[in-house]
């Protein structure tokens, strides 16, 4: 039998907030919306077949990028060749070729790593120089790009303003290309969390600790709102489980997940990983008024069915209940 424990200072201080959150949760209501299209495509390995696969995925989503500037945003984090930390360069090059074939005026690759300062060395170690011809000519280090001050219309975090890189702000289409990974602070890191790499470390430092103090999930939702012209292509061929996003272990899931609605894409990835998307706070925040794109019934699944490709990702200890 458990014994009652005295109320701590923490409980006194947090009880009103918890009660308020419970009240707000009860205010959710269903809103009729147009289903978001999310494709799930099997891809067993990082091979030459990816070029056709990615071209097919983009055709499925009928992206019109003729004459447009496309910015591919992979996830580059650490120097560990052979690990599953970084988005695979072959996938990024396949996307680059596919967008060029669709008539994009410009396709560039951009990233602003949050841990390591030597971005190009990191890209080299991750195999980007070997895989992408003339990589340096098409790459933008977002950490030291020219910036503009942005005051998001909807802010979920305490940040009232943010300096963001002009290369990302000026892109006609921002393509978030994360690795499908568990994350020890937010549960899962997918296309929305990948936008942390847009925040310039040249202004905010390595790591971008300002975002941690303002609330990680809240900042993810802020960035999601600040970049409306996006497409997501998630590298789930080999993802990461356990203590992600860096120290976890490779987890082959054998899929590419794509779509214009990043909440729907990330919710689908969560379901593939056997994570309840309603428990991922930034997904809740990004759809605070309706949760429309999280709801499975509001997502038009293209290609494989979730049930056929789902594989349980081992979660970090603090997220075992997801």
């Amino acid at each position: 039998m458990s014994t009652p424990h005295p109320i701590t200072r923490r409980e006194w201080l947090t009880a009103p907030a918890a009660a308020g959150a419970a009240l707000l949760a009860g205010c959710n209501h269903a809103v009729a919306i147009r289903p978001a299209s999310v494709s799930i495509t099997r891809a067993a390995a990082y091979g030459q077949g990816l070029y056709d696969t990615v071209r097919h995925i983009l055709e499925q989503h009928r992206l019109d990028v003729r004459g447009r500037r496309v910015l591919l945003k992979p996830n580059l984090v650490e120097f560990e060749p052979g690990s599953s930390i970084n988005t695979h360069p072959l996938l990024v090059h396949a996307a680059m070729e596919a967008f060029r074939a669709l008539g994009a005026a410009e396709v560039r690759i951009a990233e602003g790593p949050g841990h390591r300062r030597n971005t190009l060395d990191l890209a080299e170690a991750a195999g980007y120089f070997q895989t992408v011809p003339r990589f340096e000519d098409s790459f933008v280090d977002l950490n030291v790009d020219e910036v503009s001050l942005v005051r998001p219309e909807r802010t979920f975090s305490r940040l009232e303003k943010l300096y963001l890189p002009n290369s990302a702000l000026g892109a006609d289409l921002l393509v978030s290309m994360p690795k499908m990974k568990t994350h020890h602070w937010v549960g899962a890191t997918l296309s929305m969390k990948n936008l942390f790499g847009l925040v310039p470390s040249g202004i905010y430092g390595w790591p971008k600790n300002v975002l941690h103090w303002a609330g990680i999930s809240e900042c993810i939702a802020d960035l999601h709102a600040a970049f409306p012209r996006q497409f997501a292509l998630v590298d789930g061929i080999v993802g990461m489980e356990g203590n992600g996003p860096i120290q976890g272990t490779p987890k082959p899931a054998g899929v590419l997940v794509a779509g214009r609605d990043r909440v729907a894409v990330d919710a689908t990835c969560c379901r593939i990983m056997r994570i309840d998307p309603y428990r991922i706070r930034y997904l809740q925040l990004a759809t605070r008024d309706s949760q429309e794109s999280i709801l499975e019934g509001n997502i038009r699944q293209v290609g494989e069915r979730i049930a056929d490709v789902a594989t349980r990702f081992q979660l970090p200890p603090d997220f075992q209940d997801l």
């Binding site: 701590t8 200072r9 923490r10 201080l13 120097f79 841990h115 390591r116 300062r117 030597n118 190009l120 060395d121 280090d141 030291v144 790009d145 020219e146 910036v147 001050l149 300096y163 020890h184 040249g202 202004i203 905010y204 430092g205 390595w206 790591p207 600790n209 300002v210 941690h212 103090w213 203590n243 120290q247 970090p316 200890p317 603090d318």
Partner: protein, 289 residues
Amino acid sequence: MPIENLLERQNPDGGWPYSHGGSWTEPTVYAILASLAAGERDAADRGMRWIVSARRPDGGWAPCGGVDQSTWVTGLVALLPPERLGRPYYEEAVRWLLRTTGEESAFSYRLREFLLGNSPPPEQKFPGWPWVPGAAAWVGPTSIAILALRQAARRGASPPLQKRLEAGRGFLLAHMCRDGGWNHGSVRPLGYESNPYPETTGMALAALAGTKSPEVDRALTVARQFLAECRSADALNWLRLGLMAHGQLPADYCAPTVTYRTTPETALGLLVAQKDNPLLGAIPAGERG
């Protein structure tokens, strides 16, 4: 590596970019120091004029034009010779550093943690420096601030300055990874041991010049291992500086061929080749290991 590699990158406004584009404070400071060391006074003077023009009303510096907040780069500016920067500006930069700490050391934060029943972890005992005020302290900005304040102390020590220097060194020692060396400053996030990075290990060792302890010895061992394996110009520059600060860079050390891609990499590469480079110049030889 010829100094021309650096000079040709200088922008018409006098500052330097990271690689191309507009001028930023960090590359400009390193490029000025390298230009001065190479006797390129004209380039250094033009760079210094850009730095002076970028000064902010609070006595600090922003990372680049158009940003309205002073940040860690103020520590870099305080590495410049005061007689060239202008003594009042230099002294204001030092004062900015002295009043800036990581948010976890702020009274308001500590009070809140106390009210929530949280005890501060041991590594929060010592205030360090943040990248941006309002966030936590980290190894990189703390190392740069120590390098700057140590030079300031040689020019005229004061109790507050000595106190921050000692606390800064305490911060670095408390944020070392278990097996030696440093990453950006997360020691055990969520209970997992973090791995050291070569560049931050070099930076912290440079800041800890003159400090002798088993922890520093462990870090020196890690730095020597990194030096043998690492192929990043930025990391190699800082590792060499860190080992030089402790007299531990092998006399016959021959740097491998690496690509110097950015202005800071190029400038630091030139500086580490100097016998008495300005980043460590204020450390008497006797203190270097």
